[in-house]
Amino acid sequence: MLFGLAWRNVWRNRKRSLVIMTAIALGLSGGLFAVGVFVGIAESMVDSAIDRNLAHLQLHSHAYKANAVINNDLPNAGLLIDSLKQLRTVRGVSGRGVFDGMASSPTANTGVQIIAVNPQDEAAVSSIGRKINEGTYFEEVRQNPVLVGRKLAENLDLRLRSKLVLSFSGKDGSIIFVACRVAGIFETESSLFDGGTVYLRHEELTGLTGGEKLVHEVAIRLQSAEQVSETLASVSVMFPNVAVESWKDLAPELKLSAELTGVTMLFFLGIILFALLFGITNTMLMSVMDRVREFGVLMAIGMKRARVFNLIVLETLILSLTGGVIGGIVGALIVRTFASVGIDLSAFADGLSAYGISAVLYPFVPGEIYLQLSFLVIVTAVVAAVYPGFKATQMKPARAIRAYT
């Protein structure tokens, strides 16, 4: 009955209640959409980094972790890769030789990271093969085909089939030169990566590095991102002498930004609610002032102050939660709509690629945000109710009833 009373009281001044409910609904749905966009951006940064090169897990020799030089390669990499491929959760494994060196064209040169891969293995781990937007994935060029990033191609003035020379220091300290031709030009979400990376086939390199296939890094792509910690544990047990790390260890800045996004978004919603709090308090205060006489009568006939206070809290909760639920549903629908269509940011893509963000954004609001938001709305309502509730209990029955006009 108290709930019924509170509910009907809320609808007494329909217009006033609807105004504040609409404000809450708009504030929260807008807030949720913004959250969706920011979480979407954070996820896109993580996803595209994993997809591009990071993969889910990476193995290195401990020596390489301490000093990333050519000599610190992984011994017996072939065997290691073969046994990793047997694991249930593993989708692909790629052994990479990683060399810091120079790329020179007739017109310019620049420092690059040269990554030697088995094209087939690498295709199962990263999306680089799918990011080729000119040329092919190591095909149609007979001798030493390489893949270069779009940015690098621009900087070195390279086209398809252009010649370039890669140089890096070999195991004995001598400089090794490799003359190559551009087979494909890739363009990922990250212009930084595109400006400094060259892919080369392992087979071409083997002869130049003393006949052995040098692998510095083994990248593992899992069936699903949820299997990271589980697989990390079992691989660490299988290969105790190798450094096994997840993408979170390898790119702590990405992990941090993903985590910070959650906290930031909650803070952001909190600010919206804080602003709404004043509107809610104001509405409830008006409502209480309209009912001075009624509270006087109620306290005269025996309603204790705590109960009057609770009634106001209940009314405020109904007001806020109705607005909040509508805002939550509308916000979720907006997010879901844009999540299936995607938000095309290609107009800003040049700017975004500097941060490794893809051009089409899929907003996403994690489920726990809704839970935390509901909690925040309840807290806001209770806080907003304190002053009006206090006012209502300060009515003096004799005075309130006497005020007839």
Binding site: M1, E294, V297, A300, I301, G302, K304, R305
Partner: protein
């Protein structure tokens, strides 16, 4: 036994620039089963006196004893609870909660008394039948006439099973026939159920229905007359 006992009551309102001596020494005792009217000119202190009897206001001096309990020293929260269980109120207007139906208005006071839901339901319907509004149970106050609203208010006052009902000008907003019928109801409840009523009025017709008439003038009781039953 006296259920209402006032001794040396004075009330001075000090909020205004000049203090107003609304009551200047009231001694009064009202017994169970009385049907008493407080009459007097406007500003004579009727409302002030009823508020003090009902524990809605505190006297400046003197003691108020209800059912043998001194309420003048009670803490505010205790006083609210005391009113809930001992005193029924009918005001001149704005008695009812507009968003609740007639039955719910009656039921509300039972809810405050923590009566269980099923008992509330039954008792509220009983009371509404007693005030002759059983068939209007589901109507909101705005759908009822002024007289019917006052009947609901009387019903609510009865529902709490108080020692007595205080009514400050309960007929002031009613036309004379409606006023008569509300008086009939109160009289009937007084006679058949021995419910004590203390009410204030300006209306001479209401006055003559009372069996005891207390006349207030300038904050003092100037006459206390008991009239015999006027009807055979």
């Amino acid at each position: 036994m006296a259920i209402i006992e006032l001794q040396g009551i004075t009330k001075t309102y000090k909020e205004s620039s000049v203090p107003v001596h609304a009551l200047r020494g009231i001694d009064l005792s009202i017994d169970k089963g009385e049907f008493a009217a407080i009459v007097g000119p406007s500003g004579s202190g009727k409302t002030t006196l009823l508020n003090i009897i009902g524990g809605l206001d505190r006297p400046t001096n003197g003691t108020v004893r209800i059912d043998g309990t001194d309420i003048s020293t009670m803490k505010p929260e205790e006083l609210i609870d005391f009113r809930l269980h001992h005193i029924g109120f009918v005001f001149q207007s704005y008695n009812l909660i507009p968003v609740l139906t007639a039955k719910e208005n009656v039921e509300f006071v039972l809810l405050l008394q923590n009566v269980s839901r099923s008992e509330r339901d039954q008792q509220a319907m009983d009371v509404l039948a007693r005030v002759g509004l059983a068939e209007r149970a589901g109507d909101r106050p705005s759908e009822l006439s002024g007289g019917q609203q006052q009947r609901v208010a009387v019903g609510r006052a009865l529902a709490s099973k108080p020692s007595f009902v205080l009514a400050d000008e309960p007929t002031a907003n009613l036309d004379s026939t409606t006023a008569e019928s509300l008086l009939d109801l109160m009289e009937h409840l007084n006679r058949d159920r021995a419910m004590t009523f203390v009410f204030s009025t300006h209306d001479p017709r209401v006055m003559k229905r009372a069996r005891r008439i207390l006349t207030l003038e300038d904050g003092m009781i100037t006459s206390d007359a008991r009239q015999d039953e006027q009807r055979p």
